[in-house]
């Protein structure tokens, strides 16, 4: 019972300001999650995902606040924590003059393994990731996807209980990315995986728990279902900006304007009624059940409104409910 209660990752008003900057890279981030399965942190570029991952992986000191992983203080007990964690940083690259076997075994030596044991574990990890055949090829000769796999195999081969992967699939083609997801699901059966990404479909496919970060602030936290419930609409429509469509008066729903067009979040009846009208006028549009992408857009838009101190926000947002 006690064991269970300490298997958590907690942040308490974690704040980070770089150097003399006035901007907060992390702004009083507070949450607590069980350290099991896959936690996915989503957010736009510069939202603070990497900063949070680096603080938790003991690479960066926070300006203020506290964070603990399985009861170990990230700031005060870094040495203790380093035994339990491993990270594949954002933009990490496998060293090109080394083979996958050499890459993994040398990392394990850094973690304190003996040479023979490091070699054995490296080989096991490569076999597991179906890279056994390329174990002794120079990493520069491998495909982009396999080079990423080598880095994941590196931390997977270690004894680390908690693995941080900072945007591990950036730059991969869609097929390699899906293969990568299967791999991550397997890893998460054994270790807690903390993943950052700006691919929302990645979070949708993998996450047990999702955190939405925007401008350094934690906007929402929960499972995908909980995030869905935070939006009271179940259908999403996307309409291009041009030719300018007649915007409907919604009984229930929200219209948000983005660079790519209008996004309408609404209920089923209303979505189909709008769809009928738009079809008649010959306008292009799509209708889908609300996705994480919509939820993210909605939450970030809401946060923008709060930050700007403007009810309607920087983007034009209208709701019948609000008007009424």
């Amino acid at each position: 019972m006690i064991e269970e209660s300490i298997q958590t990752l907690s942040c308490d008003h974690l704040t980070k300001i770089y150097g003399n900057s006035k901007r907060k890279a992390l702004d009083s981030v507070t949450f607590s999650i069980p350290s099991s399965g896959i936690f996915v942190l989503i957010g736009r570029n510069g939202s603070g995902k990497t900063t949070l991952a680096r603080i938790l992986a003991v690479e960066l000191e926070p300006t203020s606040g506290k964070a603990t992983i399985s009861g170990i203080d990230v700031v005060k007990e870094p040495l203790k924590l380093r035994e339990k964690i491993a990270i594949v940083p954002q933009e990490a690259r496998a060293v090109p003059w080394m083979t996958p076997m050499q890459t993994i075994s040398s990392y394990l030596l850094w973690r304190g393994y003996g040479y023979g044991e490091a070699k054995r574990k490296a080989y096991e990890a490569l076999e597991r990731l179906e890279l056994g055949g390329s174990a002794n090829a120079l990493t520069r000769t491998l495909s982009g996807g396999n080079r990423r796999k080598v880095l994941v195999a590196t931390v997977l081969a270690s004894e680390a209980e908690i693995i941080f992967l900072d945007e591990p699939t950036t730059g991969l083609d869609p097929i390699s990315r899906k293969e990568f997801w299967d791999l991550l699901k397997k890893i998460a059966r054994e270790r807690f995986t903390f993943l950052t990404t700006h691919y929302l479909e990645e979070a949708e496919a993998l996450a047990d728990e999702i955190g939405v970060l925007d401008h350094g602030r934690l906007v929402r936290m929960g499972s995908l279902d909980q995030l869905r419930q935070s939006v009271s609409y179940n259908y999403s429509m996307k309409i291009p900006l041009y030719p300018k469509p007649p915007l409907p008066k919604l009984a229930k729903g929200e219209i948000m304007e983005g660079r790519e067009g209008y996004r309408i979040l609404t209920v089923e009846d209303e979505a189909f009624s709008i769809a009928r009208d738009l079809s008649k006028g010959g306008y292009r549009f799509t209708v889908n059940p609300v996705s994480l992408d919509d939820i993210f857009f909605y939450l970030v838009n809401r946060e923008g409104e709060k930050t700007n101190g403007n009810e309607r926000g920087a983007r034009e947002t209208t709701t019948r409910e609000e008007r009424e």
Partner: protein, 269 residues
């Protein structure tokens, strides 16, 4: 009792094989990792680097040999040793920066049980290993042309060791300030030019006209070269000069070590 056995079974295999002096063994493993990554794997997988390693200090030696018609061969060999030792620091600076900024490998090591001291020690030794081919060739030339006494040889090794420590301190300090490959190369060239090309490493300081001689004394490599040339018998220094040279070398190394240990950040802020 059963619970204890269960717990023992659940211990990772690492602790089983590391039962004897686990700390010592893991530190040796961590040092070995740096040597493998930064020297041995590179030399093994890209053998061309071996030629470059040998050629770099020998090229100046050859130049001095030809220009002086062989009269400065002793100074040139000793200079080659000093250049190799100093080159270790220059290389360390660019290698640390490269592994940190381009591959993010250092970030992965920061999040592992390795301490910055052990990482730096491993990387420094890896630079020595990388210089080994050149040191072997220079050693053969030294034995043939210079022929030092055992006492002088010990003194010479001490001078080289001090030069190595100084260069490592300089390399590590500069590495903490470079955030990308362009800066790293700029620092690397600056260190190399300031400390090993301009100062009289390959020839006696008396070859430099007097007003400029004082500038040469700004570089620690000048003191190392003087001591080495004295030990090799090509110049004869009074006791006071030897003492002053040693004091300056030790003071510079200690100061740079202090700067490096204060400035360098393992965990960023």
């Amino acid at each position: 009792m059963e619970m204890k056995e269960e717990q023992e079974k659940q211990q990772p295999e690492r602790s089983e094989s590391n039962r004897i002096f686990p700390q010592k063994r893991s530190r040796l493993s961590q040092i070995l990792a740096a040597i493998l990554v930064n020297a041995l794997y590179e030399m093994r997988n890209y053998p061309i680097v071996l030629i470059n390693t040998v050629l770099s200090p020998l090229s100046f030696l050859a130049l001095i040999f030809f220009v002086s018609r062989g009269t400065l061969i002793k100074e040139a060999i000793e200079g080659g040793f000093i250049m190799s030792m100093f080159g270790a620091g220059t290389s360390l600076q660019s290698d640390l920066s490269h592994l940190k900024n381009d591959f993010k490998l250092q970030d992965m090591v920061v999040s592992s049980p390795t301490s910055w001291q052990i990482y730096l020690m491993g990387m420094a030794i890896s630079e020595l290993v990388y210089s080994l081919p050149a040191l072997i060739v220079l050693g053969i030339l030294e034995a043939y042309y210079v022929q030092m006494s055992a006492f002088a040889l010990l003194g010479f090794i001490a001078v080289l060791l001090m030069m190595f420590l100084t260069s490592i301190d300089i390399g590590y300090t500069f590495a903490t300030f470079s955030s990308d490959i362009v800066q790293s190369f700029a620092f690397s060239r600056l260190i190399s030019t300031l400390f090993s090309t301009i100062p009289p490493v390959y020839y006696p300081i008396t070859y430099i006209p007097n007003p400029y001689r004082y500038l040469a004394y700004l570089s620690p490599t000048t003191y190392s070269a003087q001591l080495a040339q004295n030990l090799g018998g090509s110049i004869s220094l009074p006791f006071e000069s030897i003492a002053i040279d040693w004091i300056i070398l030790i003071a510079v190394t200690a100061t740079l070590f202090l700067i490096a240990s204060r400035k360098a950040r393992w965990r960023e802020i």
